[in-house]
């Protein structure tokens, strides 16, 4: 049966290994949220010193019994050690079942410690009465449990959503323990009834304080939210400004400098328009691994190189694979021919469907006869016709009344025929 310590052991082996390269740099003294329900102080110290966790735990417990130094050190370290979630060296968070076992271990340990104290106190003969010690201890435990939720990372998570189930359990348990402890400490064996008036008075004061503080707290909360919103907006604005600076302003500067060259200006303006359009309407760049994206990129490339607008329409999509790559390259060649030898407008239509891919590139030039193209002109024959045939597709060059149309066809991806 796998023990709960197995992952921990792997972790311990991994950490010194990572640090042993070159100068044995110590891992920073950081607590990791993935270390289970405890604050993770012992684990952090163990990691930092490169010793076994168990050793550290034993040391802390031993120290705790020598005048409480261990407890003090533990609390001190807990308060001052920053907590991180998943540091670079951190192992993957333990599985849920392990966390549960940790919880069981924790409760069992607490029970043992409490019993130990109860037995120990009369034996040692410390002149502290149990009626004070036990409630104080309970208060302490309650506070620790409740506070453990207020570590920095957890707090940010609270603001984002609610605490998770475990968090609520901790808060309720901690609050309950603390309240019970205080109650016991205060009553000191007297009847609860005697305290009733005092409790009522205390409650009244609390409610009064709440009423007084509520508007102030609400305003603080509102301010906080407003500040957050403003920060988000400012970030967005900064993003847009950065983008415009990198793209539009640069292009405008280029256009001013090259204003004598109308072709260059047209090209720059067209490229910028396309870039801005895709930024505005397409949202963040999707997967570039699709055939539609590849075809679009090729069309834009040709447009940029030759400054002739290409009207591209794409419907459907499919993953980019080798045959699609061949089609993309053949289409690039066809587009290049169209912008070089034909006349605008150059239109391209790519239909990607379950029946395969069809691509059409059309220009309005004088057209040419494939037969009249000299044998040594390789562009059309090799780059378009032969390439498509090699990849199981077909290509056809049609001379029309006005211009030429190149048709490329690919069969559907195998196994995906519908």
């Amino acid at each position: 049966m796998p023990t709960p310590y197995e992952p921990a052991a792997t972790r311990m082996r991994a950490t010194p290994g990572a640090a042993s390269e070159g100068v044995p740099a110590r891992p920073p003294l950081l607590r990791d949220r993935a270390d289970g329900p405890t604050p993770g102080v012992c684990a952090a110290v163990a990691r930092h010193l490169g010793v076994s966790r168990r050793l550290v735990r034993i040391a802390v417990v031993v120290l705790a019994f020598s005048g409480g130094a261990g407890v003090a050190a533990y609390l001190f370290l807990w308060a001052l050690t920053p907590e991180v979630e998943g540091a670079t060296w951190a192992p993957p968070p333990p599985a849920r079942s392990e966390r549960r076992r940790w919880g069981v271990l924790l409760v069992a340990g607490l029970a043992l410690v409490v019993t130990g104290f109860a037995l120990l106190v009369p034996a040692v003969g410390v002149s502290v009465r149990g009626s004070v010690l036990v409630p104080t201890f309970v208060i302490g435990v309650g506070a620790v449990v409740a506070w453990s939720n207020l570590d920095a990372t957890q707090r940010s998570r609270w603001l984002a959503g609610g605490p998770d189930g475990m968090g609520w359990v901790r808060v309720v348990l901690g609050a309950g323990l603390t309240l019970a402890g205080i109650l016991v400490l205060v009553t000191r064996g007297r009847s609860v009834n005697d305290l009733w008036d005092a409790v009522l008075a205390a409650l009244a004061v609390l409610v009064g304080a709440l009423i007084l503080a509520a508007p102030w707290a609400l305003r603080l909360w509102g301010d906080f939210r407003r500040e957050q919103d403003a920060a988000v907006r400012a970030t967005e604005r900064a993003d847009i400004a950065a983008h415009l600076h990198d793209s539009v302003l640069q292009t405008l500067a280029l256009i001013q400098r090259r204003s004598a060259d109308p072709a260059a200006v047209t090209r720059l303006a067209r490229a910028q328009e396309r870039e801005l359009r895709s930024w505005l309407y397409d949202g963040p760049l999707g997967s570039q691994e699709s055939l539609a994206a590849a075809v679009t990129e090729v069309a834009h490339e040709v447009e940029d190189e030759h400054g002739v607008p290409v009207d591209l329409v794409v419907t459907g999509d499919r993953p980019f694979e080798q045959d699609g790559g061949a089609l993309t390259r053949a289409m690039r060649e066809a587009l290049l021919n169209a912008v070089r030898h034909g006349r605008p407008p150059v239109t391209a239509y790519v239909e990607i469907g379950p029946g395969g891919v069809e691509a059409f590139v059309r220009d309005r030039g004088d057209g040419f006869d494939l037969e009249s193209v000299p044998e040594d002109r390789l562009g059309v024959r090799r780059s378009i016709l032969a390439r498509m045939e090699r990849h199981g597709g077909t290509a056809r060059v049609r001379r029309r009344e006005d211009g030429t149309e190149v048709e490329l066809r690919l069969p559907p991806i195998e196994g995906e025929e519908s």
């Binding site: 407008p345 990607i352 059309r362």
Partner: protein, 239 residues
């Protein structure tokens, strides 16, 4: 560009056009270009008004009752839906000949939802602002005659939205949620950059038949409750 000069109207009357766009420079540019393109020939259209926002546009259209409104998709004013608000605000306005006022969307936006939204609101067509002057004149004339004008891009959207590219074909022509096989062919050729005339030649049908098919696709686009179309419209809070 091979599209011949548009035929003069049977009645010989120029199409009365209102130009709606929030950029003055663009309005001036379109007017100048179209005027240049008509120079030396019988005028195809005459500009009777301009507007820069939704409310002004509705007022001008109601006052002038033009044959065709060249309409930008994005406009300030109204309830924030730009061209769609203009079309809604002008519902029921009739031209001097007693025909409904037609709208032709003219926009830089290629976003599917913008295109589909104005078409579904009632525009007879959609062309991008990069269109040539001659083509624009042809489009204006066509819209004035009650036909539909599809740019290659709009045809691509239609093929995508109706699943025609994926092979969905209507069993009967009347089915609103799918294109018929013939309509699909016409749309594919338009997406490939063919003029109506070229489509007709390619399919061995008359230009009139091509126009009929395109109008039928437009009707489907406007009336269909197909999921993809509704989703687009929903995104613009139009349904």
């Amino acid at each position: 560009m091979t599209s011949s000069r548009p035929d003069p109207t049977p009645s010989g009357v120029a199409v009365r056009v209102v130009l709606v766009d929030d950029h003055r420079m663009f309005r001036t540019g379109v007017r100048a270009e179209l005027t240049d393109a008509m120079a030396g020939a019988e005028p195809v259209c005459e500009f009777v008004g301009e507007a820069a926002d939704v409310d002004a546009a509705v007022a001008v259209v109601r006052a002038e009752a033009p044959d065709v409104v060249l309409l930008d998709v994005h406009l300030p004013g109204g309830s924030g839906n730009g061209g769609v608000d203009v079309i809604r605000g002008c519902a029921g306005v009739e031209t001097l000949q007693g025909r409904p006022v037609r709208f032709l969307a003219l926009s830089v936006s290629d976003a599917a939802e913008d295109v589909i939204a104005v078409i579904r609101a009632g525009a007879r067509g959609y062309v991008t602002k990069t269109i040539g002057a001659r083509d624009l004149l042809t489009a204006v004339r066509r819209v004035a005659d009650g036909d539909a004008v599809f740019s290659p891009r709009l045809a691509g959207f239609v093929l995508d939205a109706f699943g025609a590219a994926a092979g969905e074909i209507a069993e009967v022509d009347e089915e609103l949620d799918r294109l018929s096989a013939r309509e699909r062919e016409v749309m594919r050729l338009i997406a490939r950059g063919y003029q109506y005339k070229e489509v007709a030649k390619e399919l061995f049908i008359s230009v009139k038949t091509v126009e009929t098919h395109v109008s039928s696709v437009l009707r489907k686009l406007q009336l269909s409750s197909r999921h993809e179309l509704t989703a687009w419209a929903m995104g613009r809070r139009l349904v």
